[in-house]
């Protein structure tokens, strides 16, 4: 038994295909990104070593910081919206008929591709024939804005479909966590005279704190590397007003062919994401985590 199950050749045969794939296509490229960041390179010709110049330029590039600011703003909004999802989940999980059906309805946008969502919302925001302005005009609003063309509005206009896309996902996770709370705990609190609000605040929320922390990490990290929908909807425009870190990196590499500088920005994106992940994990870590 042990001999067969510890046969080195067999172990290698089963693990290596998967391991080689992630090594070659995930880990080596990540290291190369940092390395290419040290080069002056257009992607095809010769590389020239220029030391930390790209990284220094990146840290002094106002466009990079503006895109980073937009990414952090998205992270902030995504995190704040978790409160709303949590409230919805608390209602859903309080013996509502049809809760299972409703949470599936909420999930539908999550199943669509970001490209389809972006194209759909381009139509929603269409200044003349979009559903949003049609409704606004019916309500008597004259000259509603061209949502995606106004530099001061565009970023927030883009946040809406992103929140729309992920709402069902977070509600699903909270709902599942809330349904896991033993009914006996809730019943005991009711017998002691606790109101529904007290039960939610003092019993349910502390019990799902672990899940809430995970979703905070997901919302922030997911926002920092968000790309698809923004790239399709506005391409970062007008004039950089909706540029985020990943779209700025993509533009540098694949539109202006500045592969060296693009790699440096890509590496900064990786470093920022990892640092933020560690910081949130540290901040939200507590030694008295409740178990149930």
């Amino acid at each position: 038994m042990n001999k067969v199950m510890s046969n080195k050749l067999m172990i290698a045969l089963y693990v290596l295909p998967a391991l080689l794939l992630i090594a070659i296509l995930i880990f080596i490229p990540l290291i190369l990104t940092g390395y290419y960041g040290l080069m002056d390179w257009n992607g095809i010709g010769n590389m020239e070593f220029i030391g930390l110049e790209n990284y220094i330029n990146g840290l002094q590039d106002p466009k990079f910081w503006e895109s980073a600011y937009h990414s952090f703003l998205l992270a902030l909004f995504s995190t704040l919206s978790l409160v709303v999802y949590l409230a919805i989940s608390l209602i859903l999980a309080s013996k509502i008929k049809g809760a299972d059906f409703l949470r599936k309805i909420y999930l539908i946008p999550m199943l669509l591709s970001s490209v389809a969502i972006a194209q759909l919302w381009i139509k929603v925001y269409n200044p003349n024939n979009g559903i949003l302005n049609s409704i606004l005009m019916k309500l008597g609003v004259e000259n509603p804005p061209a949502w995606l063309a106004e530099p001061s509005i565009v970023l927030y206009a883009i946040f809406i479909p992103i929140l729309w896309q992920y709402a069902g996902f977070y509600i699903l996770i909270y709902y599942a966590a809330l349904k896991n709370i033993p009914e006996s705990l809730i019943e005991a609190a009711k017998i002691d005279g606790a109101t529904p609000l007290q039960i939610a605040y003092k019993i349910k929320l502390p019990l799902i704190m672990g899940v809430i922390k995970v979703t905070i990490v997901l919302a922030i990290v997911g926002s920092l590397k968000y790309f698809d929908l923004i790239y399709v909807m506005t391409g970062g425009g007008p004039n950089g007003a909706s540029e985020v870190m990943a779209s700025y990196m993509y533009k540098l590499a694949f539109s202006t062919n500045d592969f060296g500088y693009g790699s440096a920005i890509g590496f900064l994106l990786l470093v920022i994401t990892l640092i933020v992940t560690v910081i949130i994990r540290k901040l939200t870590a507590s030694d008295d985590e409740l178990q149930y």
């Binding site: 038994m1 794939l21 490229p29 409703l102 024939n129 590397k225 698809d228 993509y250």
Partner: protein
């Protein structure tokens, strides 16, 4: 709680549901209208005459090709991912070797990587081996990037499989391959189907890799294809609507028929950032 309280709660939940679903219904409605009707009529109105020709027009205009590419690339990547992930999970959880914990850790680190940080080197690697504008680059990239999440979902199930099954099989003289392919793998069907669904959603909806690696129309998948395609039909809303509905239909159908599996898969993918 009293009846009025519940009514208010239901109205709130209903409004959220309406907000989540309404843009999609509106999309479906205008995919069946022509421009005249879209621009002059109420956006909420049902089509006076169902313009199914919008669908026929875009399907023959090129969407059919993208659709077929999406199907086979998604399918092939699913088979590869689930097979390789199952094999690796089997070796890590069931076989005895010192580095198994470390190797598992490597796969789990793969969950946290922002893919854009690897995009430029991936592009130049594929360029060097002539895989740029070749569908194989997409298939192996999907496989690699979905391995960590797929293994993450499989792990729990593999840990709970009883040791006695392996012992009995080995005592009977079964080889590792027979044990894995004929005994273990069939036992994991329920969890494998969850990973198939989650891989299907990821692959079908993936955009960045195809947009970066593929330039020929004949290899593009739906996400990138519809992007160019919609450019041509800039002002023909009905055609754009039909294109979008075609592109999301397979996943929506999968959701209608296997909604519990989809919910399970998405919940267990919560670890992916």
């Amino acid at each position: 709680m009293n009846r009025i309280g519940y009514t208010i709660l239901y109205i709130c939940l209903g409004l959220v549901a309406l907000f989540q679903i309404f843009p999609i219904i509106w999309l479906f409605l205008f995919s069946l209208k022509d421009n005249r009707e879209i621009f002059s009529g109420s956006p909420f109105a049902l089509p006076t005459e169902l313009k199914w020709e919008n669908y026929a027009k875009v399907w023959e205009g090129g969407i059919g090709v993208y659709f077929f590419n999406s199907v086979w690339i998604t399918g092939l990547a699913i088979v590869l991912t689930v097979l390789l992930a199952s094999m690796a999970t089997f070796a890590i959880t069931r076989m005895n070797w010192k580095l198994s914990g470390f190797v598992l850790g490597l796969f789990m680190v793969g969950l946290m990587i922002p893919i854009h940080s690897a995009l430029i080197p991936l592009f130049s690697m594929f360029l060097n081996v002539n895989l740029i504008d070749h569908p194989l680059s997409i298939v192996i990239t999907y496989t690699a990037y979905n391995l960590p999440i797929t293994m993450m979902i499989l792990l729990g199930f593999y840990y709970t499989l009883p040791r006695e099954i392996e012992e009995a099989a080995i005592i009977d003289g079964s080889s590792i391959h027979r044990l894995f392919f004929q005994i273990i793998l069939p036992m994991t069907t329920p969890i494998m189907s969850t990973t198939v669904i989650i891989n299907m959603i990821y692959n079908w909806n993936e955009f960045v890799f195809v947009n970066t690696f593929i330039s020929s129309d004949k290899y593009k998948t739906l996400t990138v294809g519809i992007q160019n395609f919609i450019g041509q039909y800039m002002t023909d809303w009905g055609a754009i609507g039909a294109t979008l509905i075609i592109s999301v239909l397979p996943i929506l159908l999968a959701f209608i028929f296997f909604s519990n599996k989809v919910v399970e898969g998405i919940s267990s993918s919560a670890v992916k950032g």
